[in-house]
């Protein structure tokens, strides 16, 4: 069954790429945000099943936004999707309470991760 997903990424092209990938698998994209502040606002408003979160963004970064969202909702399911080195940042993601960390160059791994949720 498709999930309701919020995409958070500062690049419109990346959002488009992620949206296309997720929609092909039958997921419903309920919203898109281009920084942490927008993500917080949309999360509260839309209550998505899953959030795909970039890390490096102008304004509030993804790690901070994820921390605030998880503080607000223990059951929030956040998947980090970033170009940054996986070995370094997957530990941060885990510490925050995110469900996973996927490199953008292996973005399709995210689909399997979402299926398991």
């Amino acid at each position: 069954m498709g999930k309701r997903i919020l995409i958070v990424d500062d690049s419109a092209m990346m959002r488009k790429m992620i949206r296309k990938m997720l929609m092909e698998k039958g997921h419903d994209i309920v919203g898109e945000a281009k920084n942490g502040e927008e993500a917080l606002s949309l999360y509260q408003e839309l209550k998505p099943d899953v959030v795909t979160m970039d890390i490096t963004m102008r304004g509030m970064d993804g790690l901070t936004a994820a921390r605030v969202i998880i503080d607000f909702d223990d059951h929030a399911k956040i998947i980090f999707l970033s170009n940054l080195e996986k070995t370094n940042y997957s530990k941060d993601a885990e510490r925050i309470g995110a469900v996973g960390y996927v490199s953008k160059s292996d973005a399709r791994e995210m689909l399997a991760l979402i299926e398991r949720l």
Binding site: M14, D61, V68, L84
Partner: protein, 221 residues
């Protein structure tokens, strides 16, 4: 419980709204000053002699001599003061309007030009917040989005290159364990690795927002 976050920045006035307000204020100032001047002129008593048409006779001493302040309570100085006030108000309004438009458009435009120069030099770390009117804010936002698009795309290509180079390395190692004939392939693989390295070098020439390249890794901050 509510998520803590900063309130969204209130959008400023658009350029057309600013010009409309400016023009309205000037028109009101002109109208008010004009009314004041007309009232002053109407209160001024000028002797008129009729005959074959209306003529206004002015004594040699000028307009000031026609006025009897004791009877009318108005002197020619009032007209001059009204006109001077009208001129002052118009100049003040025009000056304030010009200053507002200058600070809302010209200064932000200079910042935008400077940021575009940085982008041209490959500095994608540039974050534009020029201030100014709503149109300028929209330009800021769009330029930041363009920089983000370039950054993410280039970093994605860089990551794919790093992985491809890695695969080539593994392939090269595997071939190294094979027969001498197959080892010819290692030259080809080295050529591919060299091409990949060239692409990474080109991308490495850019400056990125909050991302640095350390060896074969992308590190935040």
């Amino acid at each position: 419980m509510k998520l803590l976050h900063k309130k969204a920045k209130r959008p400023g006035l658009s350029l057309s709204q600013m010009v409309a307000i400016w023009m309205t204020v000037i028109c009101l100032a002109v109208f008010a000053s004009g009314v004041q001047t007309v009232v002053a002129i109407k209160q001024l008593q000028i002797p008129v002699r009729s005959g074959g048409g209306i003529t206004i006779s002015l004594p040699d001493s000028g307009v000031g001599a026609l006025v009897n302040p004791g009877e009318t309570g108005v002197d020619s100085g009032r007209i001059i003061r009204s006109m001077a006030m009208m001129f002052f108000i118009i100049c003040l309004t025009a000056g304030l309007g010009f200053a507002a438009i200058y600070y809302q458009t010209v200064i932000p435009l200079r910042k935008i030009i400077s940021a575009l120069g940085s982008l041209q030099d490959g500095n994608l770390a540039v974050t534009l917040d020029s201030g100014g009117c709503r149109e300028m804010e929209q330009i800021d936002s769009l330029l930041n989005d363009i920089a983000s698009n370039y950054q993410e795309t280039l970093l994605l290509v860089w990551s794919h290159c790093a992985k491809s180079a890695d695969y080539c390395g593994h392939l090269s190692e595997s071939i190294g364990k094979m027969s001498d004939e197959d080892r010819i392939l290692t030259t080809e693989i080295a050529a591919i690795q060299s091409r990949i390295q060239e692409i990474q070098n080109v991308i490495g020439g850019f400056e990125f927002f909050d991302v640095s390249m350390e060896e074969d890794k992308l590190i935040g901050g």
